[in-house]
Each structure stands twice: as structure tokens, then as C-alpha cells.
């Protein structure tokens, strides 16, 4: 009789390897990045390259300092995912030191100081983003204007590189930067929603360009979902909660309106957040029921902060807040172990 002499897990499919999963996540962001580049110029690509170099270097340096196997952890590509997500979230023409501060904070403090890959309670990219947002409000809120709206020609790769690294006068950027749709909604007190649409930065139902960027991230996310990189629970509940909230407070488009559900779904960081941030396996809740609660709470928080808070977009804040809550959610949504009663339901003294 042949006895199995290996321990679980018995599956050795490449899909189980962290590095392969992360590579697929990276690949799935490409449509979104392409859309950003088409509508807002080459700045984001420059940021992504610079962020990747920094993230990998810092990660390697700190793994070395912490006496961890450098090659093993670098080839799980989690540092690259953090770098790409942060760089995508940043304004395309953010100066190089913004990227550097954000990446340093994300990799060193939010990830390595907590114990590295798998131990970070907060999503590193979102920690980096929030630190930047509260530290440098001016630089972080000058978003680029989309193609066809911008007063000047969108910068090419070399030009974007010069802008972001301060090699040429950044004043020339004034022609291609401006407010986002969510900024306009935030500051609007008097105009009806349909009158806001006279502003050329509005597109068909979301921001001009932004709606396509979000659609591209939705596409990438659906591919990941089809490849079972993550389950549907967190992203679907996130989008559902956001839809319900924005529909409930839409009120047909008065001056106090918060914007239609379509606007909220296809503006800002909604789709990027739904499929690339909320689905982070390390910092989200673990059980399926827990993920549904986790995602839905983020959706509600995003709308609450967008509509009643001080910031035009809120995915990063909401994700960090719910990262806090994820252990609590896990505690109350522990699935029943097969063959056992549900934890906590057993009567005392039994």
C-alpha cells in the first residue's frame, strides 16, 4: 500500500504562487494605464517606471537589512504591485519627490516595518497615497486635464519625464492641469447637475476620459475575476453599496445632488479601488461573508466622504478605515468548521 508521505497543500499549480498572481494583477492594470496615457499624457508611465525602480531598490535594501531572503521576496512582485498602484493613483504630473516620498512610506513603513509581505495590516499603496494627500494637498490635487480639453498639447514621454523630474519649468504644465469632475461636484453649491455638464471635463456620464479609464480598469478587473485571482464578494459589494448610496441621494440632479450612480461608478478611483485595492488578500477580510461586509462598508464610506466629507475622492481613506476593521469582521464572520457547531453558538456549561 502506498502511503502519501507529503503534507498539505497538495496542489502545486502555478496559480497558487504569489509571484504569478501578482504578475497577472500587474498585467490586468495595463488597459487602465493605456487609457490614462491616451487621455492624460505620458506622466503616469514616467511615474510608474520611477516608482518601480524605487520600490524594488528599497524593498531589496530593507530585506537585506532585515536578514530576509532578498531574491525570494523580490520575485513575488508585491513591491511592483504597490509601486504601480500608487503611481496610477497619483496625478500624472506629480513631481518625482512626491513619488519618492510615497513609495518610501509605503514600502518601508507600511510594509517592511510591519514585517513585510503578508504581515502589513494596511494596504501599503493606500498608506503612501494618504500620507501624500494630507502632506502635499496642492501637488496631489492638480490633476491633468484630459485630451481634447487641455489648453495645450499633452506632453510626450520625454517631455513628461522633464516635467516630473523638474528639468524644465513646471509652469508650462498649467495648460494641461485642472480640477477633476469630483472636485467640481465637491465645490458646486448653486448649479444644477445638468448645467455642470456644460463644463468640457464632463463626458457622457462621468468625467471626460475618466469614464474610459474606469471602464478599462473594470475590464482588467473582470479578467482577474474570470481567472479567479480573487472572489467576487468584496468588489461587487463595494460597487453595489456605492450604487445604492448614490442612487438614494441623487435626488434627480439638484444643486445639492451628489451625482448619479454612473458618475460615482465611473469617476475617480472607483474601479481601480474595486478590483485592485479592495481585493488585496492581505489587508481585507478573509471569509466570503466577511469580504461582503468589508466591501459594502468601503462603498458606503466612499460615498459618505465624497458627498459629505472634505475630500473629493475617498477610496484610499475608506480602504484604510476598513483595513482597521478587517480583523473585527473576521472575528464575527468565522465560517463554521465542518463537523463542528458554529463558534460562539455553543451554550455555556455544555
Amino acid at each position: 500500500m502506498a502511503l502519501l508521505r507529503v503534507t498539505s497543500p497538495h496542489a502545486h499549480h502555478p496559480a497558487n504562487k504569489t509571484g504569478w498572481v501578482m504578475l497577472q494583477v500587474l498585467a490586468a492594470t495595463i488597459p487602465g494605464i493605456a487609457a490614462i496615457t491616451w487621455f492624460f499624457g505620458w506622466g503616469t508611465i514616467v511615474n510608474i517606471l520611477w516608482a518601480s525602480v524605487l520600490a524594488v531598490t528599497l524593498e531589496a535594501l530593507f530585506l537585506k537589512l532585515r536578514n530576509r531572503p532578498v531574491g525570494f521576496y523580490l520575485t513575488d512582485y508585491s513591491a511592483l504591485v504597490t509601486a504601480w498602484l500608487l503611481a496610477i493613483a497619483l496625478p500624472p504630473y506629480a513631481p518625482w519627490w512626491i513619488v519618492a516620498v510615497g513609495i518610501a512610506f509605503a514600502i518601508l513603513i507600511a510594509k517592511q516595518l510591519y514585517g513585510g509581505m503578508g504581515y502589513n495590516p494596511f494596504n501599503p499603496a493606500m498608506v503612501g497615497y494618504v500620507v501624500l494627500l494630507i502632506s502635499f494637498p496642492l501637488q496631489m490635487t492638480t490633476w491633468a486635464e484630459p485630451r481634447g480639453v487641455a489648453g495645450a498639447e499633452l506632453p510626450g514621454f520625454w517631455q513628461a519625464f522633464q516635467f516630473n523630474f523638474g528639468l524644465v519649468d513646471r509652469a508650462a504644465l498649467d495648460g494641461v492641469t485642472g480640477a477633476t469632475v469630483l472636485d467640481v461636484f465637491k465645490q458646486n453649491n448653486t448649479a444644477l447637475v445638468k448645467d455642470l455638464w456644460a463644463n468640457p471635463i464632463f463626458g457622457h456620464f462621468g468625467g471626460h476620459g475618466q469614464e474610459w479609464v474606469n471602464a478599462a480598469f473594470l475590464l482588467g478587473g473582470l479578467v482577474l475575476l474570470a481567472r479567479r485571482i480573487f472572489t467576487w464578494h468584496a468588489p461587487v459589494c463595494f460597487l453595489l453599496a456605492l450604487t445604492v448610496m448614490s442612487a438614494a441621494f441623487y435626488d434627480g440632479g439638484s444643486a445639492a445632488s451628489g451625482g448619479s450612480p454612473l458618475l460615482h461608478l465611473f469617476s475617480g478611483a472607483t474601479m481601480l479601488g474595486a478590483f485592485f485595492i479592495v481585493t488585496d488578500p492581505v489587508t481585507s477580510a478573509t471569509s466570503n461573508r466577511g469580504r461582503m461586509i468589508y466591501g459594502a462598508c468601503i462603498g458606503v464610506l466612499v460615498y459618505v466622504i465624497r458627498h459629505w466629507g472634505n475630500y473629493p475622492d475617498a477610496v484610499a481613506f475608506s480602504v484604510l478605515l476598513m483595513n482597521f476593521a478587517a480583523p473585527l469582521i473576521d472575528h464575527y464572520t468565522q465560517p463554521r468548521t465542518y463537523g463542528h457547531e458554529k463558534a460562539g453558538t455553543r451554550k455555556a456549561g455544555k
Binding site: I109, I134, S135, F136, P137
Partner: protein, 235 residues
């Protein structure tokens, strides 16, 4: 307790039992007012003065106050001294008082002060008690100064801004540009920055301690025989 030496008391206050880095007491002022050097030093000096005075006063009354009412008595003494400091600041450093006045009042509730009164001053003669208060205050003030300097330098790019609020016109030109053309790094100025810098300082202190211990174990440095902590547990 009478055999405690001044040397040990000093070492305890500055390093081994540092109120801010080891006991982690007085976190509220440490996080709230260390946004700039002048605020940090102002509050550090005030705390130091209060600690020294209350140490001496508590030591003087230690044989006349029963255990049951000692804490209210200590708090009364501390509150009186803090009121003195506050009036003093209103008289001589009014502009600084406007900035950190609230936190000066809160020194009354600073756990370092009550902690030292209960753990050390009420068990020792006036000399060591006052000296312990002074060294604990100095240890606290030094940490406040370091965090304040780091946050001011990284947050705003300059150091010693507005020191004339504390030291008079003589200090008006102490301001140093550390990083010219620095964009404000608000994160360092806001309280989360204080948490991070305090965390790094604690890490540095623990790292140094671990290094000394390792070298001692390797026999390269002779360290005096460790003695049992003399101050007792501080709640």
C-alpha cells in the same frame, strides 16, 4: 531606598527609565506640542520645573500624609506648581503661552509627574527626590526637543523658528534653514508624524541597549552588575 545614588537616579531619568521612551508617559504633550522646537522646549522646561518642585514638596510631606489620601494631596501640590508655571508664562512669555498654554495646564494630569511623586519622591529624602524630578524632567525635555527638532526640520525645512517667544529678543535670529526651498511636509507637522518619530526614537534606544548588551555578552565591555529596578513599577 535610602541607598540610591545620585548617579543612578540621573541615569534612570535620562536613559534607562526615560519617561518618554521607556515608561511611555506623557504621550499627550509629546504628540501634541512637538510640532516645533520652541513649543517642545517650552513645554519640556515647564515639565522639568514642575517635576523638580513636586519631587521636593512631595518628599517633604511624605511622613505627614497618610497613604489613603496621598494621591489627592500629590495632585493638589502638582496643580499648585503648574498654576505657578502658568502664571509665570503669562507674565514673561505670553506669546508662547498663547500657543502651548492649554498643554501647560495639562501637565497636572501628565502621568510622569504623578508617577514620579508616587513611585520615588514619597519614598525618598528631599535631595534625591528633587534630583530625580529634575533628571526625569530633563529626560522628558530632551526627547521632546529631539522630536520637535525632527518634526520642524522635516515638516517645514527650518529649525528654531520663533525661539524669541521663549528666550526673548536675543534668540530672534536663531532660525536656521535646514533645507532651502522645502515644500511643507504636513505629515511631519501633524500628530501622526509625532507617532512615527517617537517610534523611531524608541527603536534607536532599544537598538543601542541591545548593542550594549550584545557587546557585554561578548566580553568586550565590562558593565556594572545589574541591580534590581529601584523605582518600582509605575502604573
Amino acid at each position: 531606598m535610602s541607598q540610591v545614588t545620585y548617579r543612578e537616579v540621573g541615569f534612570n531619568g535620562l536613559w534607562k527609565n526615560n519617561p518618554a521612551l521607556v515608561q511611555l508617559l506623557g504621550l499627550c504633550p509629546m504628540l501634541a506640542v512637538t510640532g516645533s522646537v520652541v513649543n517642545a522646549v517650552g513645554l519640556g522646561l515647564a515639565t522639568m520645573f514642575v517635576l523638580t518642585c513636586t519631587g521636593a514638596a512631595v518628599s517633604l510631606i511624605r511622613n505627614y500624609v497618610s497613604d489613603a489620601v496621598r494621591l489627592p494631596a500629590f495632585v493638589m501640590i502638582i496643580a499648585s506648581v503648574v498654576t505657578c508655571v502658568e502664571l509665570f508664562m503669562q507674565a514673561f512669555t505670553y506669546d508662547l503661552y498663547l500657543v502651548i498654554g492649554l498643554f501647560t495646564q495639562l501637565i497636572t494630569t501628565n502621568c510622569v509627574v504623578l508617577g514620579r511623586a508616587d513611585a520615588f519622591a514619597c519614598k525618598n529624602r528631599i535631595g534625591p527626590a528633587a534630583f530625580d524630578g529634575f533628571m526625569m524632567g530633563l529626560g522628558f525635555a530632551v526627547v521632546l526637543f529631539i522630536i520637535g527638532a525632527a518634526r520642524e526640520a522635516f515638516g517645514t525645512g527650518h529649525l528654531f523658528e520663533g525661539m524669541d517667544l521663549l528666550f526673548g529678543p536675543i534668540a530672534a535670529n536663531w532660525r536656521i534653514e535646514v533645507f532651502p526651498n522645502y515644500p511643507q511636509y504636513l505629515f511631519a507637522v501633524l500628530p501622526p508624524g509625532a507617532f512615527i518619530f517617537a517610534g523611531f526614537l524608541i527603536a534607536v534606544k532599544n537598538g543601542v541597549d541591545a548593542g550594549i548588551k550584545r557587546r557585554a555578552e561578548a566580553g568586550m565591555v565590562k558593565v556594572k552588575r545589574e541591580r534590581v529596578r529601584v523605582t518600582g513599577a509605575v502604573g
